[in-house]
């Protein structure tokens, strides 16, 4: 079976084909580090490691209210301070990946939303697509391969976090519920409108992979009740839209989102990715809780990879793959994180050997 056939069976049809899927993401400096350890220079990691999923293009369109790229407003030796299209200011590293520091947010009240930011999101805006021609070329190149090709995009909760920051957002769910509903409604329409345009003008991929970081190590950012009230209706609307094209909806979320799982399934997601192990989540328990109604991707504890100890890696991976096989869980082999440069190339190669050996149904 090709990558496209394997992933379609797993994520769209929730079946267990001849093998488990295989995918991974890498921090931007990992490849450079691995080249020092023998990885051929300048290779495409997807092709080299024969991974199943091909990203047609990340960040398909600008979801900030002002359709602009982040602007650098200050810098020092190590970091830059940028302002995004929501007027939010944040600091990030110049030469390495990492979570940015939130410095300040302009969007802190409903009135500011209405006066400055809301109306920009109401119509289709072609300025939001950075390079449609390039997107078309990437689409054609991807669909000509056997890979499972996806569009990546961040959506509702993640957009709110970038717009108003965690503290304002989470407080506003209690203190300004009308504002949060309006924000979610406007942003959901905006996402659907622009995705629809891309599918019409560029083409239909094999799946749509949307980013929603909704948890941290201990818990979801919001309770299941708040999720159900504020986010669920909009996830449902996005899922219905994706399904109207007969496509699967894959959701990424870091952190512990186990308490939200029943609602996520009801919302219509087809695949859930990351499943952070250190947040107390286990793929088998989650699959059993959903009755194998969705596919799972990840849950291989990054700390085992970072130990660079084959025995630790085996102890993490082998029992999980055996259980996934035994329980017939539609599954894609994937760490519960991106692979940082602290993971050695030989460690990752060994992980792939384990997938090859134990990753058949």
């Amino acid at each position: 079976m090709t990558s496209r056939e394997v992933l379609t069976a797993i994520v769209k049809d929730k079946l267990c084909p001849e093998r488990m899927g295989l995918h991974e993401s890498f921090w931007q400096d990992t490849q450079q580090e691995w080249e020092k350890q023998g990885l051929p220079a300048g290779i495409n990691m997807l092709d080299y490691f024969n991974l199943d999923v091909r990203e047609i293009q990340g960040s398909l369109f600008r979801t900030t209210s002002l359709p602009i790229d982040d602007e650098v407003v200050d810098e020092d030796e190590q970091t830059v301070i940028k302002v995004n299209g929501w007027g939010a200011k944040f600091r990030e590293w110049k030469n390495k990946p990492g979570v940015p520091e939130h410095i300040s947010f302009d969007l802190t009240y409903e009135d500011i939303w209405k006066k400055k930011y809301r109306d920009n999101l109401l119509g289709l805006d072609l300025r939001r697509f950075p390079d449609l021609q390039k997107l078309k070329e990437n689409y054609c190149a991807g669909m000509a391969t056997d890979r499972f090709c996806v569009y990546y995009q961040l959506i509702i909760f993640e957009i709110m976090r970038k717009a108003m920051g965690d503290l304002v957002l989470l407080e506003a769910m209690y203190l300004s519920p009308r504002w949060i509903h309006d924000f979610c409604d406007v942003v959901t329409n905006h996402i659907i409108m622009h995705l629809e345009y891309i599918i019409r003008e560029v083409g239909k991929p094999d799946g749509i992979w949307l980013y929603e970081d909704m948890g941290y190590t201990k818990a979801p950012f919001v309770s299941p009740a708040l999720y159900k009230e504020f986010i669920f209706p909009y996830h449902r609307r996005v899922a219905d839209f994706i399904h109207s094209y007969d496509l699967p909806f894959i959701m990424h979320s870091c952190g512990r989102i186990r308490p939200l799982l029943p609602h996520l399934v009801d919302a219509g997601i087809d695949g859930l990715q990351a499943l952070e192990a250190k947040a107390g989540q286990h793929v088998v328990e989650m699959a059993e809780a959903t009755g194998n109604k969705i596919a799972f991707m990840g849950n291989l504890d990054i700390r085992a990879f970072e130990s660079n100890d084959p025995k630790v890696l085996e102890a993490e991976i082998v029992p999980k793959l055996k259980a996934v096989r035994e329980k017939r869980i539609p599954y894609v082999f994937f760490s519960d994180h991106s692979i940082p440069k602290s993971v050695k190339l030989e460690t990752y190669r060994y992980a792939l050997d384990l997938h090859k050996k134990y990753g058949r149904y």
């Binding site: 600091r91 520091e101 919001v222 970072e306």
Partner: protein, 222 residues
Amino acid sequence: MQDILKQIALCVEKGKIAREFPHPAELAGQDGVYELAKKALDAGISPNEILSEGLIAGMNKVGELFQAGDVFLPDVLVSARALSMGMMHLKPYFHSGAVKHKGKVVIGTVQGDLHDIGKRVVSMFFEGGGWNVIDIGVNIPAQKFLDAVAEHSPQAVALSALLTTTMVNMEHITSMIKTAQPGVKVVIGGAPVTQSFADRIGADCYSPDPQGALEFLNKRCS
């Protein structure tokens, strides 16, 4: 007298900031922490009692519920906001010395890490627990922690890290603090941190949640 303190504690727990706020629905139209703290002072209740039996008691309850997974971050944030409304009335008493914090704690995210949300939430719990929090920011090198310790003479230093690649910096910082100021307790936390890591680097406390760290401060540092 006890009734109004209990009411303040309940309003902090439920996130009832002031009368004008409709949240939570079951307390809509009633006084919130802002009004109750003022009424308590006007009734002659001591600022210390308002702080300990009203504001801190309410925040402690929220901390326990959060630790148990019964409430979530939005609840904590709204409770912290309610608590800050009460603190506004107590500010003059802190300045005059009539009300004292339990102690000082310096908090920062370690060098190499820009993450600040976890640190801010932990700071809210510490402040809500009656501690004077000196937040020195993110990407903080060991020397800056030492400088802050020398300047503020805290009872404890709290170190935060989000990533496995940055938590390793906690070891050096802890070692330098312990060498320079052996009496200052070091509290560590963050997504990748574990008890075994804390033991290995010689930190005095690791907690997976803010309430555990606050309980350590209350028991071992005040």
